[in-house]
């Protein structure tokens, strides 16, 4: 936690410098410090489309640059940035759904696929994660895989704390159901 606090202080100092008229260099340092995790998150969220994940990451950083003055330091810079990242991701998903004339499946009941798995199939973790709803996948990403507190995840996902906990619990329960026929070490996809 001390390390995270130290990193947050460095971010804060860089933000202060980036807000100056000649702040591009400082902002570039912020980009270099956070791009790896931002792109990794988006790759998890969008799936296998690495180019799309990078496009959304770039869009997120450009938006962060424009809105940097709105960062008040009330949360970690990373939390603030990830909130922008998730908002960009959701915006993209909504636009894509609108173009396809579909409703965006955010919650569990609209999730793609179902829990009935053909006994002949063998789901691995990646395939099982893709079968969760967007919100469950995002909640597990931030709360479990990135080890955010539920409060931080609630800020990033812009949803109430209780809703985040619910998505985590339901996501885990569904993962367990989906993975019952899977044996660790078996990488064969559906």
């Amino acid at each position: 936690m001390d390390d995270r606090d130290a990193q947050a202080r460095i971010d804060l100092a860089l933000v202060a410098r980036a807000l100056r008229p000649d702040g591009e260099r400082a902002f570039e340092q912020l980009v270099r410090r956070h791009q790896g995790m931002v792109r990794a998150q988006l790759r998890r969220l969008v799936g296998d489309d690495l180019a799309l994940a990078d496009d959304l990451a770039q869009e997120s950083f450009v938006l962060a640059w424009r809105k940097l003055a709105q960062f008040r330091g009330e949360s970690r810079f990373g939390t603030w940035l990830y909130r922008i990242v998730y908002a960009c991701f959701l915006q993209h998903m909504r636009s894509r759904a609108a173009r396809a004339g579909e409703e965006l499946a955010l919650d569990e009941h609209d999730a793609r696929g179902c829990d009935r798995v053909d006994p002949g199939w063998r789901l691995d973790v990646e395939s099982a994660l893709r079968r969760l709803s967007i919100q469950q996948r995002a909640a597990l990403l931030y709360c479990v895989q990135l080890e955010f507190t539920h409060e931080e995840a609630a800020q990033v996902l812009d949803m109430p704390l209780g809703t985040v906990k619910t998505h985590v619990a339901r996501g885990k329960a569904r993962l367990r159901r989906l993975l019952q026929g899977w044996t660790p070490g078996d990488e064969r996809d559906v």
Binding site: R43, Q58, W65, V125, V144, Q145, L179, T183
Partner: protein
Amino acid sequence: MSDFKDVSERNLDALLRSRFPGPVPDDGFSERVMRALPRNRQPRIPLLPLSAAAGTVLAWFALLPSPIWRQVVQEWLAGSIGFATVGIGALLLGMAIVSCAWSLEEG
């Protein structure tokens, strides 16, 4: 090798964390972002009065068929500020504020 049902109760979190690949190497991404940054991130100042004026005009058009304008003119000619004048003024002011807030939010 153990069945996942047994493992999941104890180690689902650890399993998920182990599947997170970690930070992606930069490979020129940061430079790409820096090239894409807009030169000026501040809200374009002319946008504020323009959006306020647009909001005011829209409000005026919306109320054009209403007899309230005639009432406002009568109040002005009579040299008094009545309900119609105050109402229209508040509405126009509200539209201008909303337009400004929107343009600031959008940057």
